[in-house]
Symmetry: C2
Subunit: 477 residues, 2 copies
């Protein structure tokens, strides 16, 4: 960790982000353009995200599996919109074992095609359905402009791929997994999200309908934090995923796919972080509590470390780190753990030992406001309650921030102004022309048509025609 | 699951293995030559292996991280022996985003080089050492002859990479992780292994010394089940991993690497399986107990399922599956779960309901011998004890099998005969000539020089010269 301060968020949000990722040792640049190394602290955060999601996937009946990294080029070409969407972004293996391959292999950008191929082998009858499989893995997309976590050539994610006997069931699954993402984002990451549908223009290449959860970052731009796609029979037809139904008639299956990636780490950073560094939601923080012993001489040290050890043992149900480094000062340690976003700091000095108390410092309320003292005897209860309170406070703050920066707009002029520094919530006629005009003139895109819609209808903020739905326009990552 | 029987292990071990992997739905062939799809049941087994290892890695102070899949070609070329070892096996990305790359990228066959490059950025002082990082991921090696799990183009593994300030500490780490592998293999997988050192000829490309755990499969061939390498300063010099020591002098670090892969799934299959299918060690089995309800009519069904539900709730600390399928018979289910190697089956019929008992069937003792009845009231205790007993019995049986098929040999003729159908334990002078002669004439290789060595010395079983070490010669996977 460097002692240098971060740039302020207000002055240069982008540079604040880049430096924070490096200084908190979440990730580093790899020697290959656009690739990242996820460092142990960042990976521990991702492992906690994985566990929180994986538990939900298993509770909703899904199982994990692993499909190959390398996909025959011809597979990508079987679904027309899919190949158009992904062709510009492919990494291609042309040589294997010293010889030029007859058919080049694509490093998977996503796995609908190879999984579709396998499903066509496995699925024969309605009895084999639904198939509810998820995969944790890495994918590669040859992006031109990259940012650590937000957009990298290789990234880590999970991709769920399911097959069903009816359209209704597949659509239900698509929405169920969208809800799983929203539930995780809100309740574990304290990242408030709007769940909604993507426009035709913004949907996944090969989907009938795409759903998304959209989050507002600290610079008021939107970030697509997870997507769930109803693929209809598009991939089932391209890969001949067919089954005999109850009436012994051959049908194409209905499929879905849904994914959430290491990009979500970026969402957590940009939702909660401040000028001192990261602020991690307690439920996902690799270290929930850091204990910093404070002493001036060996006699103090002995007494303090004894109390530290006892407190640690009482906090065994939390993820606790003791910072016993000798070569740096307590003040350095405070900054260090603030940079890394540890939700709660416990300071224990000789006076605390004498008084039977400890000092607590909340990361979400810097300075005196977040500081309090508590008796050692009640430490486990107190820490548990405070972590819950921090979790709730982070969500509340992010919600308030989003509310303050989301504006109902009724005219195009208003829309164009609002999206420069916030979200516009507007009636939209649904036409691609209006959407394109906004994008061209303001750089804002339709982020989603929220599932939660108001009653009635209004006038399209762009063209003034009657509109039956409201949409969020925003500049996005 | 197909109803067809497996080929017998004695008649055709190789075909028994291939069909078992497919029929138990552990894995399937992918459309790319030599690649596999790990199906949900196989992946659940691998996840249990991962957890058992990851826990041990964390207990020994390691953290996880993620390094890029794609490695610049020039990196591979920096360590001379390393590049010679891996060059023939590389998959090469030459096109990215539609353009030919200036420098081709290798899909990682192993990550010493890219991790070495990052370590050279991160490590500056002795205070930064040791670095103890592990990575869970996928790698690609362009193998010509492939087998599901045992040797596939892409496989899944963990690779630990550590850096230390002294040779002694690095060597200790190498041996510590070898012991972690042995402990996992013996105590969780019930796979007895011999821990030892690889010969110069058989060591990892780039290592100073390689250690291995070797297991005997059901056909008496050896399988290298995990390796740990002391890399000396080879990679530190190639990638300039340097640190300032206590005396403020610049030193090259000492590094290690160690890995265990999905190949271990093959080891479990071939150690324990029988002609009925898989037998999984209880500690790693995705399903530890399957409950099969047995009834003839609706009135029986109601009573039986009620008992089944109660038994299930009492077994909540175990991984339990209820097979309530209506379209197949109990006999079909028995075969099905035997094929999948579930350690313990509970059968519950109307008579059991009346008597307050259940029938237990142990997978490791087919037929009547493994069948018993137990009062429902004691089910949780009984199941726990029986699973422990099965775990121990599997290890004991594998140990006895290995002992019966490992032969002390004192002459070359004896050695050459023994290795056709077992392991030879022989004095070896250590010369590459003797090793090469055995390989050429018998196809057996030196598997390892066991760490546990007898006192004294003997005569090399090949050349008759004085030998100070014993070695295992065997034909291997």
């Amino acid at each position: 960790m460097s002692e240098d301060k971060l740039p302020s968020r207000n002055e240069n949000f982008s540079e604040w982000y880049n430096q924070l990722v490096l200084k908190a040792e979440l990730a580093d640049y790899a020697p290959v353009r656009g690739c990242m190394v996820v460092r142990p602290y960042g990976w521990a955060l991702w492992e906690n995200i994985q566990q929180a999601l994986d538990r939900r996937f298993k509770e909703t009946g899904h199982v994990n599996a692993a499909f190959p990294l390398l996909i025959p080029k011809s597979f990508l070409e079987k679904e027309k919109e899919h190949v158009e969407g992904f062709s510009p972004e492919l990494a291609v293996v042309t040589i294997g074992g010293g010889e030029v391959l007859e058919e080049p292999l694509i490093v998977r950008p996503t796995s609908e095609t190879i999984i579709g191929y396998m499903y066509s082998k496995w699925i024969k009858s309605y009895r084999d359905l639904p198939v509810l499989i998820n995969q944790w893995g890495n994918v590669v997309r040859w992006e031109l402009r990259t940012r650590l976590f937000l957009r990298t050539l290789e990234f880590y994610w999970q991709e769920g791929h399911t097959a069903h006997s009816t359209a209704v069931e597949a659509e239900e699954e698509t929405r169920r997994m969208l809800n799983v993402y929203a539930d995780f984002a809100i309740n574990d990451a304290a990242v408030p999200v709007v769940a909604g549908m993507k426009s035709e223009k913004e949907k996944f290449a090969g989907a009938v309908r795409s759903y998304t959860i959209e989050a507002m970052m600290g610079d008021r731009r939107a970030l697509q934090a997870g997507t769930s796609h109803f693929l209809g029979q598009n991939f089932a037809k391209a890969f001949e995923i067919q089954f005999l139904d109850w009436n012994n008639e051959l049908q194409h299956a209905w499929t879905t796919s849904w994914g959430l990636s290491t990009r979500f780490v970026g969402a957590i950073i940009m939702t909660h972080g401040d000028d001192q560094g990261l602020i991690l939601p307690p439920k996902l923080a690799p270290v929930q509590v850091v204990i910093v012993p404070i002493y001036k001489n060996d006699s103090e040290k002995g007494r303090v470390l004894e109390t530290v050890a006892r407190i640690q043992s009482e906090l065994k149900n939390f993820r606790v780190k003791i910072d016993a480094r000798e070569e740096v000062t307590p003040g350095y340690k405070f900054n260090d753990w603030e940079m890394r976003g540890v939700p709660l700091r416990i300071e224990i000095g000789p006076k605390d030992v004498d008084k039977g108390t400890v000092a607590l410092a909340r990361r979400d309320r810097p300075g005196r406001e977040g500081k309090s003292f508590t008796p050692q005897a009640q430490i486990a209860v107190q820490v548990g309650e405070m972590l819950e309170d921090i979790q709730a406070a982070l969500l509340e703050r992010a919600r308030a921030f989003r509310a303050a920066n989301t504006h109902d707009v009724s005219s195009y002029a208003e829309l164009a102004q609002v999206v420069q520094d916030g979200w516009a919530y507007a009636w939209w006629c649904g036409s691609a022309e209006c959407e394109a005009k906004v994008k061209e003139e303001t750089k804002a895109t339709t982020r989603c048509i929220p599932l939660d819609q108001p009653e009635g209808s209004g006038k399209c903020a762009v063209c003034g025609e009657t509109a039956s739905q409201k949409v969020i326009f925003a500049r996005a990552y």
